[in-house]
């Protein structure tokens, strides 16, 4: 692998291009930032190349990241967030609008675009606008103006769209603009004070339960509203973000069968981590299930590797039981889930170095997403091609037409948007290793396979690993 500026030649690698459904041995050549040649190797030329080493894939697209600017720059800035994205292999990032002020009018979008330009990062910054003014849930935000300014969707994320009438109106209004409502599904009357997934672990730890039903009932409501609106508004679209439960995914699967225009994403932490981590286990969800498909007891001898109540695990929706995590993986595998979105949620240390029940929700996850997803691939839980698809063309489809990239594929003749990573190399997740200001990762101290070597975005170097 040689990389110097915008020229890059990679020979004898494993290429993955979900936009054409293909993976295999190959070579790429980048000249002056342009992906000049993509060559698929066959026959004897391909001998000895497998998917376990250096992989070249289209740059990843994150539908859901909190960059905290404006308003909470101590937790993250656009500049540090984009640097973190590049470190994670992402070349397109959709910022969430729960900033201060909220991204509810074009001026705020202009502000973060200026910050992105000033950062010099070539990572593409996109954004969702708020559904309501100030995310207060009472009055529609400037949806049309925001659409004209280039937002890719609308979301109240952090909270659900609380009001039924406003949700219904927003689906119709955004639908006519060709944009989805990106919904955080939560019945907050069921989660007041909730701390951890309602179940065995929360019971033993004495944490206030956060029921599966709080998400599933909100998903049911959202789908019913979509059903209602989509009948009259052909463009109406609903994207359910960070879906975390088997119950919700079953409802979405059923809605798809009825051809409702709904898409959804799952996060790396919800598909690989589980509520046993709150008790102190540190095993992947698929290893936390016994031969009968039941979650293993975190209190069994020798299972707990860390102290309980780590606030880095506090997140909304909460880490669920291992069965739900496997349901997220299954939904990815069968296409019910269109995308893996990170819900990157950096926080200041002081907001996490408090009692578990007082800690803010969120995991800093954009840099560990690839490693976590590859762990599922390594475990045989997800085909590599499908995993990469859920990080590239899957999310690109949700924001179709709004990215500078025509497709999230390896397109010859276009400015290079790609990531090169080595599945045979591990890296240690440490605070120093994270480019994000948010060090609130539950994976600190763990080693992840799949080290990003180079990220090219828009034909420029967004990230390059230091030479060993």
């Amino acid at each position: 692998v040689t990389a110097s500026g915008p020229d890059l030649e990679i020979s004898r690698a494993w290429l993955v291009d979900p936009s054409i459904g293909r993976e295999g041995p190959g070579e790429i050549v980048v000249r002056d930032g342009v992906l000049e040649a993509v060559t698929w190797l066959e026959g004897a030329d391909a001998d000895g190349i497998d998917a376990k080493g250096v992989v070249v894939a289209p740059g990843f697209v994150d539908l859901h990241a909190h960059l905290r600017e404006p308003g909470n720059e101590d937790a993250e800035t656009v500049a540090t967030g984009l640097a973190a994205a590049a470190h994670g292999g992402f070349t397109t990032v959709c910022a969430m609008p729960n900033t201060e002020p909220a991204l509810d009018e074009p001026g705020v979008l202009a502000l973060i675009r200026a910050a992105a330009a000033a950062s010099g990062s070539p990572v593409e910054l996109l954004a969702h606008g708020a559904v309501t003014v100030g995310r207060a849930g009472e009055q529609l935000a400037a949806l049309g103006e925001l659409a004209d300014a280039g937002v890719v969707g609308f979301s109240e994320d952090g909270h659900p769209t609380r009001s039924g009438p406003i949700f219904r109106a927003a689906l119709a209004y955004a639908g006519a603009l060709g944009l989805p409502i990106v919904e955080h599904s939560e019945d907050e009357t069921l989660t007041t004070g909730a701390e951890a997934n309602d179940g065995y672990v929360a019971t033993v730890l004495g944490l206030r339960g956060w029921p599966v039903a709080a998400e599933a009932s909100a998903v049911g409501r959202a789908l019913a509203l979509l059903d209602d609106v989509a009948a009259d508004v052909p463009g109406a679209r609903l994207h359910l973000t960070h879906v975390s439960t088997a119950a919700s995914l079953a409802l979405i699967r059923e809605a798809r069968l009825r051809a409702l225009p709904v898409t959804c994403d799952v996060t790396p932490h919800h598909l690989a981590l589980h509520d046993g981590w709150l008790a102190g286990t540190r095993d992947w969800a698929w290893d936390a299930i016994d031969d009968n498909g039941l979650a293993r007891d975190p209190w069994r001898d020798g299972a707990r590797a860390a102290p309980p109540f780590a606030t880095s695990l506090r997140v909304n929706p909460p880490l669920r039981c291992p069965e739900d995590a496997l349901a997220c993986l299954a939904a990815l595998a069968d296409g019910t889930a269109n995308a893996i979105a990170t819900d990157h949620a950096p926080h200041r240390e002081v907001d996490k170095a408090v009692e578990f029940g007082d800690a803010v929700n969120g995991i800093s996850g954009i840099e560990t997403a690839l490693g976590v997803v590859l762990a599922a691939v390594d475990a045989g839980r997800l085909p590599l091609l499908r995993a990469i698809e859920a990080l590239t063309s899957g999310p690109a489809g949700v924001i179709a037409g709004r990215s500078r990239r025509a497709t999230a594929g390896l397109v010859e003749g276009a400015p290079a948007d790609l990531v090169v990573f080595d599945r045979s190399e591990s890296w240690l997740v440490t605070a120093d290793a994270l480019a994000s200001r948010g060090k609130n990762s539950p994976l600190l101290g763990m080693s992840l396979r799949g080290r990003v070597l180079v990220t090219l975005a828009g034909g420029r170097v967004a990230y390059e690993a230091a030479a060993d």
């Binding site: 033993v204 004495g206 002081v350 009692e355």
Partner: protein, 358 residues
């Protein structure tokens, strides 16, 4: 100075000579903190019980005091109102000749918004070597333990754990189920299966009870047949725990039928019921609770003759427990309070032994 070992009993615990400083004793205790009881082995629980026996002997002396923790500072940091637990820890520490500092969060800079982390650092800078924490948020003592250089004792956290309460409850049950004598004396008798197979009922608001959670661990580890009983809204979630316990060979049952729970019980522990539960929609009324789940003389008659009646306090007499039951001949509620001092002395002593000498 020597520890007492019973060579006749395999795995018998070495009981320290509590007149001596703990670091001079060969004690099989490896925990620097006491944050929960979920990680205590049967042998460790036995060691606490035997050490508490030794402390009971100290308490019977004319001057109920030993110099074991002389020169050590024990800070008691309570973020929740408490009388009995706080005073019990204070008396226990003073009986061991420790210097005691009391901090009630309401009267400290905590009320000015200081974080737990900063408060613990300050307390340590002021010389604390052992820290007793009570907090309304589950898990808070773990945060304190992460930053505190000495030993942290959990004095009760949220709904999660109340380790010393469970240990003193166990101590009281062992003592009284043994016929009221202190036969399991200092001189290392075998770990008698006092609790094995005994039916222990924990009655009432399980959902919000740290006492119940810690008792589940210590009692099931001791071989007791533990029954949890309460209204459906207040025992939810514990069925899963019972199922897990069965897999692990521990006996834990959940029922909403008070008659089924009390029948042939050896011990009945009633839990405090709080008015907030009505506001949360978990109960129709205290009156209905008392009628359906109150521990009355008539109901107690379903239990074995002489069954023990316990309550961690403070009690709502006439709600979860009838006054005549609370003060009746089967009640060991005041024993719980007395034993609390001995058990907390034992725990302070054992934890101090894991620290470098002062």
């Amino acid at each position: 100075v020597s520890a007492v070992v019973d060579p006749a009993t395999p795995g018998a615990v070495a009981v320290p000579s509590v007149d001596a400083a703990p670091e001079s004793q060969p004690i099989a205790w490896r925990h620097r903190h006491l944050l929960d009881v979920d990680g205590l082995s049967a042998a460790e629980i036995e060691l606490v019980m035997r050490t508490a026996d030794a402390m009971r002997e100290v308490l019977r002396r004319p001057i109920a005091k030993v110099p074991a923790l002389r020169g050590r500072q024990v800070t008691i940091l309570f973020y929740e109102a408490s009388t009995r637990t706080r005073v019990s820890f204070e008396v226990a520490a003073k009986n061991l000749s420790a210097d005691v500092v009391n901090i009630a969060a309401a009267s400290s800079s905590v009320s000015k918004g200081e974080s737990l982390v900063d408060t613990v650092r300050t307390v340590e800078a002021l010389g604390a070597q052992m820290l007793v924490v009570r907090h309304s948020v589950s898990g808070a003592p773990y945060l304190a333990a992460e930053i505190f250089g000495g030993s942290v004792l959990n004095g009760g956290d949220g709904w999660h754990a109340h380790p010393t309460q469970a240990l003193l409850d166990l101590y009281t049950m062992r003592e009284r189920l043994d016929g009221g004598s202190s036969a399991h004396s200092i001189a290392g008798e075998s770990a008698s299966p006092l609790l094995a197979g005994r039916k222990v009922v924990i009655l009432g608001d399980l959902l919000h009870s740290r006492v119940a959670r810690s008792n589940i661990w210590t009692l099931t580890a001791s071989g007791a047949d533990v029954w949890l009983c309460g209204p459906p809204t207040l025992v939810r979630g514990f069925e899963a725990w019972a199922a897990r316990s069965a897999v692990a060979g521990r006996r834990l049952h959940v029922t909403t039928s008070i008659d089924a729970a009390l029948r042939d019980a050896d011990v009945v522990m009633a839990l405090r019921i709080q008015r907030e539960r009505m506001a949360a929609g978990l109960l129709p009324s205290l009156r209905e609770y008392a009628a359906r789940y109150g521990l009355t003389r008539e109901r107690l008659a379903l239990a074995r003759p002489g069954a023990l009646v316990m309550h961690p306090g403070p009690m709502n007499e006439g709600v979860e427990i009838a006054p005549d039951v609370a003060s009746g001949g089967q009640s060991v509620i005041t024993d719980q309070v007395t034993n609390g001092v001995a058990v907390r002395m034992a725990v302070l002593y054992l934890l101090a032994g894991t620290q470098a000498s002062a």
